[in-house]
Amino acid sequence: MTNAVNENEKLVYEVKGLNLWYGNDQALKDVHLDIKKNEVTAIIGPSGCGKSTFIKTLNRMIENIPVVRTSGEILYHGENIFDKSIRVEELRTRVGMVFQKPNPFPKSIFENVVYGPKIHGIRDKKLLMEIAETSLRSAALWDEVKDRLNDNAYGLSGGQQQRLCIARCLAVQPDVILMDEPTSALDPIATYKIEELVDQLKAEYTISIVTHSMQQAARISDRTAFFLMGELIEFDTTETIFSNPRDQRTEDYITGRFG
């Protein structure tokens, strides 16, 4: 019994029977999936299978599309995120997001990082500076930008911009970080840096990452979920998925024999 409770405490997300429609087109079908604390969960599957849709549902970003309807439950630390009592802005400070294309604001590097803390009422200059430094350090960007914090963020390279976006996300001290193909626009070195970063960050954060790269999923994730046409086909430890998948379709996909 105590064991079961302990197990549950480790669950950050419990997705139960999630369905999602864009108008009349169903994009997610009866998805059941648990995300464990301090683990990296990779989401893989062919283009259009619903990976982005799924990950955006976890912090309710998907609701910005007016035609979207959902059913089912997503428990976040035991609370259904679709409950009326949930404040979506608060949820999003706890569940941060990093997008496919780096999307810094057209402001200075410093202002980008402290944007979140600032809008949430932190004014103390010293504290903001501290937050900026720790966040940038955590995002492995500090050394590269510490002398140009007041420069415009668009002067950074793509990979640096993406790490800046990660720093910006870390600055509000989330609990979960959602990443939608965060390295698809980056070169191998920048990609490597971000992968390394994910590996370090998982000690403190729970991470879910969408990727098209099998190697990336295999390298950095603890568990892997394989989606196909809106259905969760298989969800297991990354090792199992890549060495001994139960479903033929999973095997076809990861070995590149698909479609």
């Binding site: 400070t93 009422g121 937050i131 720790t134 370090q200 000690a203 403190e204």
Partner: protein, 307 residues
């Protein structure tokens, strides 16, 4: 890499204490502000209509849509066609000048001009837009008309060509600047896509950028037309007040706006048919602009390339 819980706690506290008042009340406030202009429009229409109705009660429709306009004669007649004619001709000439030149300027500025060139040209164009219309009117009457008289010997001292052209020049910056904005809003990746297929800069401008920006360009043209229809000073000064119904653009014609100026600056006794005719013309002007707006909507929807 230690996580500092302190910041999380502050954020948590602030966000849970943050009042939702502003988030609730501000949209209402914004709505009210938006309503002001809508209500004003209704107010104007209501005023115009009530007095215009009196005009239409006094004057039979057959007379309204006739070509004889002589409000002050012993046997007054209120045919509106001469005014519509004058308005259409002046506006048409203005468009013939403003649209090609404005578009060309926009294409140059957004696709070809160097940053340096833009920095010089844009402010100069904006100056053009800022000149008071009375100055343009004066310019048309005392400079352009005499100049044109050398080319067209039969040209009247008051005529339609000269104010039409000057009005067009005045409107160029409007077309150019709005169209340029629309072209600049086309994402760079589209241009790169076309360039990457071997298109020349000109082909990119004509085949990719303009089609993608067409709805903005169309709106700029329609706005320009509205501007021309509503323009008053230039036509009052340079195209005169002839109420004859003719198609001779070398001679004077009165526009709807010019008619309103003439009558309000003269002594149209309140309560007379002549006085109410002002409201009828005003209402018609309003209807024209409304029609233009509808057209703009329709056109931009039809030609829209989504991106």
């Amino acid at each position: 890499m230690e996580k500092d819980i302190r910041v999380r706690q502050i954020i948590q506290k602030n966000i849970s204490e943050k009042s939702r008042f502003a988030d609730r009340i501000m949209p209402v406030f914004f709505f009210l502000m938006a309503s002001v202009s809508v209500l004003t429009t209704f107010g104007i229409v209501a005023t115009l209509t009530t007095d215009a109705v009196k005009f239409f009660q006094a004057v039979p429709l057959r007379e309204v849509f006739s070509t004889r306009l002589s409000p002050l004669s012993a046997t007054p007649s209120f045919g509106i066609l001469p005014l519509i004619n004058g308005t259409i001709f002046t506006s048409l000439i203005a468009m013939v000048v403003a649209v090609p030149m404005g578009l060309a300027a926009a294409i140059y500025l957004s696709q070809f001009a160097t940053e340096k060139m833009r920095k010089v040209l844009k402010p100069v164009m904006e100056v053009l837009a800022g000149i008071p219309t009375i100055v343009y009117g004066f310019f048309a009457y005392s400079f352009v008309t005499p100049l044109l008289m050398r080319l067209l010997p039969g040209l009247g001292a008051k005529n339609v060509i000269s104010p039409g052209i000057v009005m067009g020049i005045m409107i160029i910056p409007l077309v150019a600047s709005l169209s340029e904005d629309a072209m600049n809003a086309v994402p760079n990746i589209m241009r790169e896509g076309a360039l990457g297929l071997g298109s020349t800069k000109l082909e990119v401008a004509l085949k990719v950028v303009i089609p993608a920006a067409i709805s903005g360009i169309m709106s700029s043209i329609v706005l320009a037309i509205s501007r021309a229809i509503g323009e008053t000073m230039i036509v009052t000064i340079a195209s005169g007040s002839s109420k004859n119904f003719s198609f001779d653009i070398t001679q004077s014609m009165q526009t709807m706006t010019g008619y309103i100026v003439e009558f309000t600056s003269g002594d149209a006794a309140s309560g007379t048919t002549g006085y109410y005719s002002l409201y009828a013309v005003g209402l018609l002007l309003f209807a024209f602009t409304l029609l233009m707006n509808q057209m703009a909507h329709h056109i931009s929807r039809k030609y829209r390339e989504e991106y």
